[in-house]
């Protein structure tokens, strides 16, 4: 199926709030999941006779299970604080891409079926019966949300549209309207072990090739171990790191860090994927099943530490949810968690981000780096949304902003931040997160990248920045595809550990 042509938005000097254009993105429709994909996930593949009943029942169930959904659907006062905060609204000017309007697609139905006011006076409070048109709007606009949570920073009640989008996708799945991209990936990760569907033997092959590359390049035999029992660290990274460009450069960086620090480590073919698309679909059981692979691998391989590679939403799931879902973490006394805690080394945070690990090693002098090896680069850093607004690094709030920047500055000499209001907690999504990174949504992705591209363009003009570092596999894939359409060179995009990889000294420090 061909994707319709569209205009690339024009970058202005500043990020501008557009006048709204109703229906500007109403033609978008992500490819629906076919029967066998839906089957595997236990969802129907078409609307049945009773679709409306099923949808309302599911909404009722979710309202009983998630306080976030219930409070967020009640609390909004339509103040408008969020209306200019979504990158998809800024890039498309479609009013249904304003966070509050995206929420209202569900809120109108919630009010009609679950609130007194909406049952008695639907017109007055904007309540509507659920129709196939509304369901279509849900499918359309809940796949134009990257669940980046930027709106939740600005809402006076902390309403997080991501929670609504997740619930919307969950309901859509239960009435047979799944999205091909996300659900196919959820099938692959559970059947094969990673999102790309790369089987064990192919993975071994790939990693051996990378080891040869590193040795040819540096003269040092750096290993990238797989399924090694008794290794200290179990390393979990997004599968794009195995062969996609520029992801693979960071993988070589991680390997060099472990080598230089003398830490024994391994990856797992069973858990060869950090990404967890269960998050995007808002299904607790799916997210738990995908996360459980990591717990299984840790128990099987007997590792004492679990470290996570450069992947934004994976770090959210790992940092914020793994302890809840699988017991990877501390503080629990239930038998389920105690089993794993006996094995983990309590001297380290569990799980630990690779940036936390590498930054500690450099600061304590356990590995040596030469930042002048990156002197050809002028670097800026893109805060990935899930790291910025849904997780932390280190011990202090905001460590997720400080630690990656400290790490970058220790391996490069030229660094400039992008403008305030586009980084840190206010960072703009790459435009491809949350289950949107698919070619059938290319128009959404390109337009959604406009705010980030504009902010990047300004540091390129002002400071001659020629490299944007990041710690997210989705951001890397999205930017390498989309930024060239805005006139940037693809090679400007890369991982933080790509920079580490260039600057690290491989002879072991004393």
């Amino acid at each position: 199926m061909a994707v319709a042509k569209f205009d690339i938005p024009e970058m202005k000097d500043d990020i501008e709030i557009p006048k709204l254009r109703e229906g500007a993105m109403s033609h978008i429709k992500s490819f629906p999941a076919p029967e066998k994909v839906q089957d595997f996930m236990g969802y129907p593949h078409e609307l049945g006779e009773d679709w409306k009943e099923r949808a309302i029942d599911k909404m009722g169930e979710l309202l009983g299970k998630y306080r976030s959904l219930k409070v967020f659907l009640d609390a909004c006062v339509h103040c408008g604080a969020c209306t200019d905060k979504c990158h998809y609204y800024l890039g498309t000017s479609d009013p249904k891409n304003m966070p509050v309007a995206r929420q209202d697609l569900m809120r109108q139905v919630y009010r009609r079926y679950f609130t007194t006011a909406g049952k008695l006076f639907p017109k007055l409070v904007g309540a509507k019966d659920l129709t196939q048109d509304i369901l279509g709007d849900w499918y359309n606009y809940y796949h134009q949300c990257s669940e980046c949570r930027r709106c939740s920073v600005y809402c006076p009640y902390g309403i997080d549209t991501a929670e609504i989008t997740m619930a919307g996708r969950e309901i859509l799945n239960h009435v047979g309207m799944g999205q091909k991209y996300s659900n196919e990936i959820l099938g692959k990760v559970q059947k094969i072990g990673n999102n790309l569907g790369l089987p064990g033997p192919a993975l071994i092959d790939t990693l051996e090739g990378l080891e040869e590359d590193i040795e040819a390049d540096t003269g040092v035999a750096v290993k990238i171990p797989l399924d090694v029992k008794g290794a200290e660290v179990l390393f979990i990274t997004p599968s794009a790191d195995y062969f996609a460009e520029p992801h693979v450069e960071s993988l070589m960086g991680y390997a060099k860090v472990f080598h230089a620090a003398g830490i024994s480590w391994t990856m797992s073919s069973h858990a060869s994927e950090a990404g967890n698309f269960g998050l995007f679909n808002g299904n607790y059981e799916t997210m738990r099943a995908v996360a459980m692979r990591i717990r299984d691998a840790a128990l099987e391989l007997g590792c004492k530490r679990i470290v996570v590679g450069e992947c934004g939403h994976a770090w959210r799931v790992a940092y914020s949810f793994w302890n809840t879902l699988t017991g990877i973490g501390y503080g629990a006394d239930d038998p389920f968690s105690v089993e794993l805690q006996k094995q983990l080394d309590h001297n380290y945070p569990q799980p630990q981000h690779i940036c936390e690990l590498t930054n500690d090693l450099i600061k304590s002098g356990k590995i040596k780096v030469d930042p002048s090896l990156n002197d050809d680069l002028v670097v800026t850093y893109h805060d990935s949304c899930n790291v910025a607004r849904a997780s932390r690094m280190g011990t202090e709030p905001g460590g997720q902003f400080i630690i990656p920047r400290e790490l970058i500055k220790s391996v490069v000499n030229n660094y400039h931040d992008m403008a305030d209001g586009t980084i840190g907690e206010a960072t703009f999504c790459c435009g491809g997160g949350g289950g949107v990174l698919t070619d059938d949504l290319l128009e959404v992705r390109v337009k959604g990248a406009l705010p980030r591209a504009t902010a990047l363009n300004n540091v390129v003009k002002e400071h001659k920045v020629n490299f944007m570092a990041m710690i997210c596999a989705i951001c890397k894939a999205q930017f390498t595809k989309v930024l060239p359409m805005y006139g940037f060179d693809m090679s400007m995009v890369g991982g933080v550990h790509q920079l580490v990889s260039k600057a690290i000294k491989l002879e072991k420090a004393e």
Binding site: K19, L20, L63, K65, Y66, R67, S68, V71, D74, A75, C76, V77, H78, C79, G80, A81, T83, P95, M98, A101, T116, A117, F121, L124, V125, G126, R149, S152, V153, C155, P156, Y157, G158, I159, D160, E163, Y284, R288, Y319, S320, F321, N323, T324, G327, G329, Y330, G331, A332, D334, F336, P349, Q350, A388, R389, A390, R392, P397, G398, Q400, E425
Partner: protein
């Protein structure tokens, strides 16, 4: 002494409105607190301690921190309205206390003029619903009517404070009577009756309208959760049952 029909209607109206508001809010608060929050989802950077969360919530409640980050116009009008309303409400305590608490007396002059802040704030918020295309798009009839209701309450009150005074001594007797279940006549002043009728209506719709943002804020997981998921396992009851199957 026989009571007029108007008095009976207003007395009954306030009893019903107070009952609906209290029961409705208690029901909502109990419902919110019983609904589990299965995952740790604070919007980060977030406090890593309980006391840090109390400080974060206090900033949201008192100075509307997130709204300040979002939009200075909404913040100015929203804060003026809420702060004005607070002072006005404190001033009104004088009609429900005998003797009047000393600090209510201190607030009296501020409370009178705070009504201007309140109405200016409301007018600004309403203007945005017409002038800003994005806010116009999201506004429902009830959004407009809510502002109209609040402005009408404010303006009718100001008329009595600054233009045509009402018999506040008799009014106080009426409310003290309601509180002690000894109904006394309500002053038959049209502006006062409009003011009181609108207030009773506001109380009535509180638990079924967007005024639920008031209790909702305190239950918002993105604001009230502690950011400590690596150190503390957070499991909801329905989710814990899944662990037993492994």
């Amino acid at each position: 002494m026989s009571l007029s029909t108007v008095t009976m209607i207003y007395a009954g109206m306030f009893y019903v409105a107070a009952l609906v508001m209290v029961i409705g809010l208690v029901y909502k608060i109990v419902d919110y607190s019983r609904t589990p929050a299965p995952l740790v989802i604070p919007t980060t950077p977030a406090p890593t301690t309980r006391s840090g969360v109390i400080y974060r919530m206090a900033k949201e409640v008192v100075v509307f921190e997130s709204l300040f980050k979002a939009n200075k116009w909404i913040w100015v009008f929203g804060w003026l309205f809420h702060f004005g309303l607070l002072l006005v409400l404190l001033r009104h305590l004088r009609y429900f206390t005998e003797p009047v608490w000393f600090w209510v007396d201190i607030f009296q002059p501020f409370g009178k003029y705070a009504s201007f802040l309140m109405v200016i704030g409301l007018a600004g918020l309403w203007a945005r619903r017409f002038l800003v295309d994005r806010v116009r798009y999201i506004s429902t009839p009830s959004d407009h009517l809510m502002l109209l209701l609040l402005i009408a309450i404010g303006v009718s009150g100001m008329l009595m404070t600054f233009v045509v005074h009402t018999d506040i001594v008799a009014l106080k007797v009426f409310f003290m009577g309601l509180m002690y279940f000894d109904v006394q006549p309500v002053p038959a002043d049209p502006i006062l009756l409009i003011h009181l009728g609108l207030v009773a209506f506001l109380m009535l719709i509180f638990p079924i309208s967007k005024l639920l943002h008031a209790p909702g804020l305190f239950f918002s997981p993105t604001r009230n959760q502690v950011d400590n998921p690596r150190e503390h396992r957070h499991v909801a009851a329905w989710a814990a049952r899944l662990d037993q199957k492994n």
